[in-house]
Symmetry: C2
């Protein structure tokens, strides 16, 4: 088994390329463990949250929105980036995003997992929560000014059909649908065992 | 239901920030459907492939490697970016990556899904394949010069334990482990129904 030092890429120099509102970009020259040098193009991102909201009649709430990198409209679970000062409280960010994007809050809010979405070049860490026992917020916090959203509720079969159609095509939402199916199969198996 | 035009963000101007080997970065000024303007920080990426390799004794092959964006060693399924000229044949890229990183090739190679890993700022599309009936390649193509890898094989329980420990912490690998568990539960349920 190799140790950390056998893998580590030491930074020789770093060039700052871009400092944005959402991302920073740097170019590193690194020394590999074998003594060679290489370059790494890196994107630093503040992290994000996503919520899997399940209604009382067992449907998942999703939002349709335009995504500029692909020039396409995608159907996704509610999500948003972590603002400065929120890093220690991703759950609160997730609750805020759920309310802003759907107008709901959840009485049951469970942590599912945290995942680096593209570890080859970006440090974005996405925290995912499962939200049940939803209730409408009387006067929900408004959406961000620059977000145009349309709400949908989908059964598991409908969600799987939209993955097949390509309207659902992002990692967190495909993960969410698969997670939901897994929970339902686990429940079925338990019932079978009784 | 809203139409595409109700969502579309029209590009007013684009500033090229960075042209790299792996990513390009641009800054767009956009016109929102409500007439307001906003800016979008975008990363263009050639796309990537990942492989879920399952051995004859039902273990998943993973690779340990250093990931510069996080300055951490991660345990991941084999993956790699798509090279120029490979865009129409992601399956061939996946077969190449499996051979280069593990020394195996698969007699059963099945498409699982394609997913945008971070649709808020990046257009990276990841194609995932399931690889079974593996055999050792006598003289496998060598690894990339700048990749230091260590191979592991894990049972489903071991993989879930490494998600809990945080060593497995990227989206594609967490998805892969969940996908694998789902296939096993579906098989169990079918057997129960007999």
């Amino acid at each position: 088994m190799m140790n950390f030092e056998d893998f580590e890429e030491k930074t020789i120099s770093r060039k700052e390329i871009f400092k944005g509102h959402m991302i920073d970009v740097v170019l590193d020259e690194v020394r590999l463990p074998n003594g060679e040098t290489s370059r790494r193009e890196l994107v630093f991102h503040p992290g994000a949250v996503a919520v899997i909201p399940i209604t009382a009649d067992n449907k998942m709430i999703m939002v349709k929105q335009f995504r500029k990198p692909m020039e396409k409209v995608l159907l996704e679970i509610p999500a948003g980036k972590i603002d400065p000062g929120e890093h220690d409280h991703p759950k609160e960010t997730a609750e805020r995003e759920l309310e802003e994007e759907t107008g709901f809050r959840a009485n049951m809010f469970t942590f599912v997992t945290s995942m680096y979405v593209s570890p080859g070049f970006a440090n974005e860490l996405l925290h995912i929560y499962y939200a049940e026992d939803l209730e409408k917020v009387p006067n929900p916090r408004p959406q961000d000014d620059d977000e145009i959203l349309e709400l949908y509720t989908l059964t598991l079969e409908e969600a799987k059909a939209e993955i097949a159609s390509g309207l659902i095509c992002d990692a967190k939402t495909i993960f969410a649908v698969q997670y939901w199916e897994l929970q339902q199969l686990k429940t079925l198996l338990k019932e079978d065992k009784r």
